[in-house]
């Protein structure tokens, strides 16, 4: 396998402009002769499908929801970054680029990140033109806020529903193209494999989730915009349907998987309340601006928080990081919370949680002031937990939230399979080992509106395509394999439900490949994943039949893929013998317990090639060079 990044030469500010001039164009009259498949209709997929159709290509778009508007991008709360410098506070493309490289702990490509910062400007323009109701000042101009510890106010937002408003903008653009007839939309249709012919991606195999019918679709290129894999942990902030199936099946057909162990854990989520817990809810990080985080000093102290005097409370972030305190970065805040709970000092009914206390802020500022700042968040918290956070401290605990890893792509967003493009969270491209707040929406829309529509044209213009329809033998063969797998899942007829396997896998991954990892834990996890996978295929019980709407069957297919994928994630974490960004290896830390990056040996992207289920994948390295931002160690002391 060749990892050719195709990063253009020249100074970093000129690379993308020069590259766009060098890309081949498809004649306007010929565009309608090209069919493009887009799988997934979140921010990246919907924006790409709409834009490609506007250009004149014939697009087929697929999603497993009943409508493209349901994709999980809808749940993003905080905002979207752009280097507009509307606040005149010294922001610039360069500064956004610099912050993203540094925030990613020097494990992303400089050229990609610079392009992202450049395009951030166009995204805001585009969204406003679509009618996205961003927050505004009294003068009618756009409002901004500082987010995630950034030194400038570059985040655009629509109350706590920025993802929803941006997705609806892209969804409406997509619906417009559906009405015109340039996009054929397939809702309630799940992609189960890609079809590779003569080494190129030429189509997909899908299952109609209502009728169960398995069918194939041919095209000149395939775009995956299928999101991240946080649900490998079972409990995460992701929607229940989020899964790794599309990217995993593409990986099994030859697409390299990059940095799968880079998974972000968000520090402020509501802790689980029992065995029945099905997902975790994120509480905005802004709460850490006024809330103080603490646990009891003594293990197993089960007094109500109001009865624990200050002298017996450990405000551990303020103690360990006096200058950043409760605003320490996500990975540090998360890891320290887990440590406190592992020591037996966790709070709440299950002992997994730490207090986020507003007592002092209410005294200092008044209840009214706190209510104005966080009223809606306090309501959500009370709705879920039944506790009043004005009177009793909130309980929070970290939860998996976003995956920086994904299918490897070159500068053109093409995977190692020619003709297979990967955009949004599904690729690995821009966030390195850690994503900054309000950057996921930016990347999804940059890929979909402004990068892929250019780069895919270059591929279509340069490639000589054999005429293909879906009666060709690779289509029939792949379809057979998919049908066989569905039949096999139903035939096991064992005793354990799909969810019980998913829960067990999730707990294992959380313990061994979550916030902190060790050689011993990972080696053991790989063994246990294999055992669990064997047990799954010997004892899973999937109800119903395949010719029907069957939610157990849908879940079973996804969990079967997580059970294969989890192993690669552990291999990646095991191989990366350093701590960087969200990846913390217990063996590689400073005496004070901080992450110790190893730039001499690990300044590269790990791209894994599939070998066989149960066998270690093969590693390829894409070296990372830092020509513009000097390598530096983070410090929050």
């Amino acid at each position: 396998m060749d990892l050719i990044s195709r990063v253009p030469g020249g100074p970093i500010e000129k690379k993308w402009d020069q590259h766009r001039q060098d890309l081949k164009l498809v004649n306007p009259a010929n565009k309608r002769k090209f069919d493009i498949i887009v799988v997934g209709t979140g921010l990246a997929g919907a924006s790409a499908a709409a834009t490609l159709a506007e250009l004149g290509y014939d697009v087929k778009a697929f999603c497993f929801h009943d409508s493209p508007r349901r994709a999980h991008s809808i749940a993003a709360q905080g905002g979207i970054n752009a280097a507009k410098n509307y606040q005149n506070d010294g922001d610039s493309i360069w500064r956004l680029f610099y912050d993203t490289i540094k925030g990613g702990d020097f494990r992303s490509r400089e050229a990609n990140v610079y392009r992202l910062a450049q395009i951030s400007l166009n995204i805001i323009d585009q969204c406003v033109a679509q009618g996205v109701p961003f927050a505004r000042e009294y003068g009618g101009l756009l409002a901004n806020r500082s987010f995630g510890g950034a030194q400038v106010s570059r985040t655009f937002y629509a109350r706590g529903q920025t993802g929803q408003q941006l997705l609806l903008g892209a969804y409406q653009a997509l619906e417009r193209q559906i009405a015109i007839g340039k996009v054929q939309m397939f809702p309630r249709t799940e992609m189960l494999d890609i079809v590779v012919m003569d080494g190129c991606a030429r189509g997909i195999v899908v299952r109609d989730l209502v009728t169960g019918k398995i069918s194939t679709h041919a095209a000149h290129a395939v775009v995956l915009a299928t999101g991240g894999y946080s649900n490998v942990f079972f409990l995460s902030t992701n929607a229940k349907g989020c899964n790794v199936t599309a990217t995993w099946r593409a990986h099994k057909r030859g697409a390299a998987f990059a940095n799968p162990c880079f998974t972000q854990i968000h520090p402020t989520c509501i802790p689980p309340s029992g065995e029945f817990q099905s997902k975790l809810t994120l509480m905005s990080e802004s709460l850490r601006n006024d809330g103080r985080i603490w646990v009891p000093t003594r293990k197993g102290d089960d007094r109500p928080p109001s009865e624990i005097p200050d002298s017996e409370r450990d405000y551990y972030l303020e103690r360990l990081y006096p200058s950043f305190g409760n605003l320490s970065p996500r990975d540090i805040a998360s890891r320290r919370a887990k440590e406190a709970c592992d020591e037996g000092r966790g709070v709440g009914p299950l002992g997994i949680g730490v207090y986020l206390d507003f007592r002092d802020a209410i005294e200092r500022l008044s209840r009214q002031a706190i209510s104005e700042r966080y009223g809606n968040l306090f309501e959500i918290y009370q709705q879920i937990t039944g506790e009043d956070p004005y009177a009793v401290p909130m309980r929070i605990y970290p939860a998996p939230h976003y995956t920086m890893g994904g299918l490897w792509v070159d500068y053109n967003l093409m995977s190692t399979i020619p003709g297979l493009y990967v955009i949004g969270e599904a690729n690995f491209s821009d966030h390195g080992a850690n994503r900054l707040g309000a950057s996921a929406l930016m990347q999804g829309l940059a890929d979909g509106y402004f990068i892929l529509p250019y780069t895919i044209g270059d591929y279509l213009a340069q490639t000589r395509f054999a005429d293909v329809d879906d009666s060709a033998s690779p289509f029939r063969q792949t379809e057979h394999e998919v049908s066989d797998r569905v039949t096999k899942l139903l035939a096991v007829d064992g005793r354990r439900s799909v969810d019980s396997f998913h829960r067990e896998l999730g707990r294992l991954m959380w313990d061994r490949c979550g916030m902190s990892r060790s050689r011993e834990g990972l080696t053991d996890a790989i063994e246990r994943i294999r055992e669990l996978r064997d047990e799954f295929w010997g004892d899973v019980r999937v109800m119903g039949r395949s010719e029907d709407l069957n939610q157990s069957l849908e879940k079973a297919g996804r969990v079967a893929d997580f059970l294969e994928f989890a192993e690669v994630m552990c291999h990646d974490a095991l191989h990366r013998e350093e701590s960087c960004g969200a990846h913390f290896r217990e063996e590689y830390q400073t005496p004070e317990g901080e992450a110790k990056r190893n730039d001499a040996d690990y300044a590269f992207v790990s791209a894994w090639e599939f070998t066989e289920v149960g066998c270690p994948p093969k590693l390829y390295r894409e070296p990372l060079a830092f020509e513009y931002v000097a390598l530096a160690q983070r410090s929050y002391k």
Binding site: S47, T51, E54, H65, D66, S67, P68, R69, R70, I74, A75, K84, Y86, N122, D125, Q126, V128, A129, Q130, P133, F134, R136, E137, Y138, G139, G140, L141, L142, A158, R159, Q161, Q164, L168, Q172, A173, E175, R176, I178, A179, P187, V210, A239, K240, S273, F276, Q277, S278, Q383, I384, T385, G386, F450, P453, S497, D499, R541, M543, D548, L549, S552
Partner: protein
């Protein structure tokens, strides 16, 4: 707590469907309503029975996937929340809970509690957008938008497309859904060029899809998990009258409130 559930089971669009009685035991007050259904489904699978099909995804009240009628109310007894945000502490042991799908001609049942809501997508296709190609936008601050208009537009734009408004309406009208989008786009300057054509086309599509007319019951507003106001229906009607006067769109429509 222990509950008795009466759940609508229907194998497909052609099946007549029926309520089936289930017992939910040891329900924790901290469970969400959907987690309670998860647990019931696990016990059904253990017994070798087909689990109850229900739609859900984000489970934090924003994707609009979930939605069932609980004891006669869409999304359950409380205003302002979706079924996934409803917690079992709202019930007490011994309660009987009736659970059924949205009932509307334009939302045919697919299975059990899952209905087909693609009619909503077709209403959007009729004009629920601003026609702007990628790349042709002016600078985002080139056109100031008064804060009041931006806030009102946002309030309308928070619609999650769940369909509770239709389920709550005695006429199964989709006026609140349609009005929310018409108002959102009609309140921002970027939406003005297509404003009157948009309202005519969207209302015509709503009628053609088999949704009923609005007769001002305002049940929709009470059921809406995002609290979208019926004021937006008045806004739609004003735009529709003006559209008819100036002859925008193709033809008029019978959906004016009180008609």
């Amino acid at each position: 707590m222990d509950l008795v559930l009466r759940v609508w089971r229907q194998t497909g669009a052609t099946d007549r469907g029926r309520f089936v009685r289930y017992e939910a035991r040891d329900v924790s007050p901290d469970m969400s309503f959907l987690e309670m259904l998860d647990v019931v489904n696990e016990t059904l699978i253990e017994k070798g029975e087909d689990p109850i099909a229900f739609e859900h995804d984000c489970r934090e009240g924003i994707c609009g996937s979930c939605g069932v009628v609980i004891n006669g109310s869409p999304h359950g007894p409380h205003g302002g929340v979706t079924a996934c945000q409803l917690h079992m502490r709202s019930f007490k042991s011994g309660d009987e809970v009736w659970i059924e799908p949205w009932r509307a001609k334009a939302f045919p049942v697919i299975k059990d509690l899952i209905v087909d809501r693609t009619a909503f997508d077709r209403i959007i296709q009729a004009g629920g957008y601003i026609s702007v190609r990628t790349g042709s936008a002016p600078d985002a601050n080139a056109i100031p938008v008064p804060k009041r208009d931006a806030d009102l537009a946002f309030d309308a734009a928070t619609c999650i497309g769940c369909g509770a408004c239709v389920a709550a309406c005695p006429n199964a009208s989709a006026m609140l859904f349609t009005a929310a989008k018409v108002s959102h786009l009609g309140l921002v300057p970027q939406g003005q060029p297509e404003r009157y054509e948009r309202v005519v086309k969207m209302v015509a599509t709503m009628d053609a899809e088999g949704f009923g007319s609005c007769t001002n019951h305002a049940e929709c507003e009470a059921a809406c998990p995002k609290g979208i106001s019926v004021d937006y229906i008045a806004q739609l009607n004003r735009d529709l009258v003006r559209a008819n006067v100036i002859g925008a769109g193709t033809n008029g429509s019978s959906s004016i409130a009180g008609d």
